[in-house]
Amino acid sequence: METFNILQHYWWALISLLGAILVFLMFVQGGQSLLFGTARNESDRTLILNTFGHKWELTFTTLVTFGGAAFAAYPLFYSTSFGGAFWLWMSILLLFVLQAVSYEYRGKIGNLLGARTYEIFLFLNGTLGCLLLGVAVGMFFTGGDFTIDKMNITNASSPIISEWAHPARGMEAIFVPFNLLLGIGVFLAARTLGLLYAITYIDEPNFVKRCRGELKITGTVFVLGFVAILIFLSLLTGLQANADGTFTPVAHKFFFNFVELGWPIAVLLIGVIGVLVGLIRSFLGKEKYNFYFTGIGVILAVWPLLICAGFNDTAYFASTVSPEDSLSLANSSSSQFTLTVMTYASLAIPFVIAYIVYVWRALTRKKISTQTLQSKESETY
């Protein structure tokens, strides 16, 4: 494998890992989805928001880093997807802007829109936000309605390389069954992790009891949904990127990617075991580490899925209207120089992770209860 090829795969692996970590960190969104239904009164809602509110920046910055890494490593994907599927990404952006301000304003005296409005915003972010992000990620497997003509760069009056063919500009992806299933899967993963986090870090027996009851249903549906995603994925036809720049449709392409690469199957299995261990321990009434078992399991289960979207000469963003315009790791990356510089910068990642772990531990030292929130210093949101 030549250096450029290795760098392209290295960056796809990193972006995939960021995507997997993002799904894990969306436990914050899952927690917000408990605001109506699981939470019975204002006190419950304050408890939820002060439990998850300390972590929302981590999810937000991981989402931005995911987008930033995609922009820097695969600019043609970024310009095609973000510029083309405009309304899908704008909806996601809007939902995340609402999340940021809601945490800041909800608990403040004199907030213009009232606490309930901000709670609704957070609930929408926790439900629709997960669904739409899952749909957007689903396009890695199902593709999008776009065309690409690099020669257009010579057209001085309209040098547009990527064009989106569908007038709904990305919103049509919601109606692709696999995308929708993946969106629901992301929501279920987030809600399952949110429930586990609430059970671990909230010290309010009645509320925790309700969360335990809901976890039995949500966790089971999540596991079944994930199995359905794997089956559906293995049935999808993908595009093989040929050495001459052309693409050939291959039935069960993503299934073959798992089999031919081998190691993603092992990672996936470890991930699934992690998810199950966390859930079963929780069902059995054990208290500690369940969130971390399932959380790390989710990372290890999602990472190989995203790996198999791009590795093994696969079109990770197929064009459904003009397959020859599809994007693969080879035809859409930045230059070797850019990827090399980025790779040196990426050596700092372990230090960033160490800092995040330190902050995480500092913020989760104590359980949160209604009593602790009554001391003014501990209530932030």
Binding site: S79, I160, E163
Partner: protein, 161 residues
């Protein structure tokens, strides 16, 4: 030429492109004047940014000294409040220097802003601007209301709550 299968012509064009690539973006400009940004705006924005930036360095040094002495004259406190909008003016001036000063380039010499566009319809962009403008206006009002409420209550009332 590549599409037509004429490899000789394709190689000649590629060599010409590579030879002139560092000036690639100039092909999108219609006249030489287009390569020059709006100098008066950048000139004044830069000076406002530097003057205010320098003011804030001195301002905070004096504040440190006053904090150590625990003495804050009334006129100084008034100046502190009046300085709040100056922070925003300073920040915006910096952005104007960066964004007007870079014109016409998105990427220096390679990609001017008029070429760095997507195929998005203008109506979509206008709708988005309107959406964000409305949202952020509402949030600005909410933010101001919270701030005024807290200022009116004063520190003692907050503590007693």
């Amino acid at each position: 030429a590549k599409k037509a299968g004429d490899t000789t012509q394709a190689a000649i064009h590629k060599a010409t492109l590579e030879e002139n690539f560092e000036h690639f973006g100039y092909g999108y400009l219609e006249q030489p004047e287009d390569a020059v940004p709006n100098v008066p705006i950048v000139f004044y924005a830069f000076r406002i940014m530097v003057i205010l930036g320098s003011f804030f360095i001195v301002f905070f040094l004096i504040n440190l000294w006053l904090t150590k002495k625990q003495q804050f004259p009334q006129w100084w406190l008034m100046l502190t409040i009046l300085s709040i909008p100056l922070v925003y003016i300073c920040s915006q001036s910096g952005w104007i220097v960066a964004e007007v000063g870079r014109q016409p380039w998105t990427i220096q010499d390679l990609l001017p802003v008029n070429a760095a566009i997507s195929g998005n319809e203008a109506s979509n962009v206008i709708t988005t601007i309107f959406l964000f403008f409305s949202l952020f206006t509402v949030l600005l009002i909410a933010e101001l209301r919270i701030m005024f409420k807290i200022i009116k209550q004063g520190p003692e009332t907050i503590e007693s709550n």
